[in-house]
């Protein structure tokens, strides 16, 4: 039952257990995520999806196990990582424009002291165009709608040019157009060899959006290519038998 973790893997998680207070929240998590995949993390409420993400990013302490990004701990390789947090994590009243926020993604290239120049601004503008809100670049961020704010975050991640992206519910409370724009963007990222891990809620869209799935319910129920693991059996093991959502999902399986 030994498990190998190849060093070129964008994300490998080994024997991860995270516990708050006395209760383990997730346990025995073992994962290898191949490069260039659009990975959905799905599971019921309270299954530990955000916890898994945060433990991968060293935002909460691990009780046992380790997480490697391209064969190195997060600390060493965090320049390869882009994190799109839940929207509430920043102060949207902060006096910056959408363009300013997106340009922050380019700061690593700039390094200390060098100010934001034309190149960075045009890179940021490109990223805004890709998410379809270039015309709002000058708006202060509190004057954007929820969906637009989410797009700003994604454009920033895009400008960041990371190789692995972690996204905590980017589809939460956004309009249909934004959701579509985000999906297109994610697919573009995937096609350029990036790996995206996305916490997702809507089972109906899962097979459409993702090509790799992690079923999580306190421990990993299944992880693998969507075509292989998106089965009724795994859904039942993750969500239980009585879920009306399952009917949607079954529908989705039939369609896929």
């Amino acid at each position: 039952m030994a498990h190998e973790h190849p060093p070129d893997c964008p994300l490998s998680v080994h024997d991860l257990t995270v516990a708050y207070q006395r209760k383990p929240v997730i346990w025995d998590v073992d994962l290898n995520i191949p490069e260039g995949k659009l990975v959905g993390i799905v599971g019921p409420n309270g299954a530990g999806k955000s916890t898994l993400l945060k433990a991968c990013l060293d935002l909460i302490p691990k009780t046992s196990g380790w997480v490697h990004i391209y064969g190195q701990p997060y600390r060493t390789n965090r320049h390869l990582v882009g994190y799109v947090p839940q929207r509430e994590s920043v102060d949207w009243d902060f006096p910056v424009s959408a363009l300013d926020v997106v340009a922050m993604g380019t700061y690593r290239r700039l390094g200390w002291f060098r100010p934001v120049g034309k190149t960075e601004k045009s890179l940021a503008m490109e990223a805004l165009e890709k998410v379809g809100i270039a015309h709002l670049s000058g708006r202060q961020i509190s004057q954007l709608s929820g969906g637009q704010q989410q797009r700003v975050f994604l454009a920033r991640a895009l400008a960041q040019e990371a190789r692995v992206y972690f996204m905590d519910e980017p589809f939460a409370a956004v309009d249909a157009a934004t959701e579509q724009a985000i999906v297109t963007l994610l697919q573009e990222l995937r096609d350029s060899g990036r790996t995206c891990l996305v916490v997702h809620h809507d089972l109906a869209t899962v097979p459409q959006y993702f090509d790799w799935l992690i079923f999580l319910n306190l421990r990993v129920v299944a992880s693998g290519p969507t075509a292989e693991v998106f089965t009724e059996d795994n859904l039942r093991k993750t969500y239980g038998g009585k879920l009306s959502l399952l009917d949607h999902a079954a529908e989705a399986i039939r369609r896929s």
Partner: protein
């Protein structure tokens, strides 16, 4: 009223000090730490007392260093208590500064046994008396306070200009700053060092009232007038400088009108800043009370 050259120096020094304070103050306000200036100006007392007890002398450099070091320590302790105790930052700040102040009082009393060291006089300069303590620079007699606050202003200008994007990033999204390789901790303590140095420089030469007011009021007023950081820094500086000059003028004009002999310039500067804030509060073209009032009574408009 007679406006003498001394008055020009006082207004100018007040303006320098106000500008020096309002620059880091903008970042404090944005980071929800606006009470830091107040906390530091109380908390430096033990630093002063220890510097005095160690060197046995009231020379200003060791005192300055001791005070600035305690100021930074205030920020460090606040951060520790907030993190390890998982409690509100304001409460942590309050605990740290009251404790350090109490410690300082006891140390000062100890020190005062040996030599006459009055807390009020060691601690707080007064802007009215700056022209009694001057330094000759060529033909000019420049008040020491003007040089000290000018120095603090210069330091703040240089650091904020050089690290503008880093400070903005660190204030907006510390997590992202860390991912991008700009240590948010380092940026936090850099800002706290600026605040501590500015605070000590200012209250040692012109008193603590100006410091506390100028770190909060001009940035807050500017935030009501603009939604961009650079204009906010500029507006805040303008309001700070304006309050200093107008405040000193009011300190000369107002008391005779009310039948008193004189008043306190620092207090009047803070009062003037408060008035300017109130103007911004009422008349701000984007979100002033008037605008809100008309918006509320008119048809619901575009929230943007």
């Amino acid at each position: 009223m007679t406006w003498t050259p001394d008055d020009t120096w006082i207004a100018a020094t007040g303006a320098l000090c106000a500008l020096a304070c309002s620059l880091p103050g903008c970042f404090l306000v944005l980071r929800k730490m606006s009470m830091m200036g107040d906390a530091i100006s109380h908390a430096v007392l033990p630093g002063l007392a220890i510097a005095f007890l160690v060197t046995g002398d009231r020379a200003s450099l060791p005192m300055f260093l001791g005070a600035a070091a305690t100021g930074v320590l205030t920020a460090v302790f606040t951060q520790w208590i907030t993190r390890f105790g998982n409690i509100d930052q304001g409460a942590a700040m309050g605990i740290v500064f009251t404790t350090l102040f109490a410690l300082g009082l006891i140390l000062i009393v100890q020190a005062a046994d040996h030599v006459d060291l009055d807390p009020g006089c060691v601690l707080y300069g007064a802007i009215e008396f700056i022209t009694f303590d001057t330094i000759s620079l060529g033909p000019l007699e420049i008040p020491r306070a003007a040089l000290v606050n000018g120095g603090a202003l210069l330091l703040n200008l240089i650091v904020i200009a050089a690290l503008y994007k880093e400070l903005r990033l660190g204030s907006f999204d510390p997590g992202l700053a860390d991912t991008l390789g700009f240590s948010s901790g380092l940026l936090h303590y850099l800002l706290m060092t600026l605040v501590a140095v500015t605070t000590v420089a200012a209250f040692e030469s012109v008193g603590s009232i100006i410091v506390i007011a100028m770190m909060i009021v001009p940035p807050a007023a500017a935030l009501l007038l603009t939604r961009r950081l650079l204009p906010m820094l500029l507006l805040s500086s303008a309001i700070a400088g304006g309050s200093a000059v107008l405040g000193h003028w009011a300190a000369l004009v107002l008391p005779p009108m009310l039948g008193f002999e004189r008043t306190n310039t620092s207090g009047m500067i803070a009062f003037t800043a408060g008035l300017l804030f109130t103007l911004a509060w009422i008349f701000s073209p984007t979100e002033g009370l008037l605008k809100r009032h008309t918006a509320a009574s008119g048809p619901p408009g575009d929230p943007a």
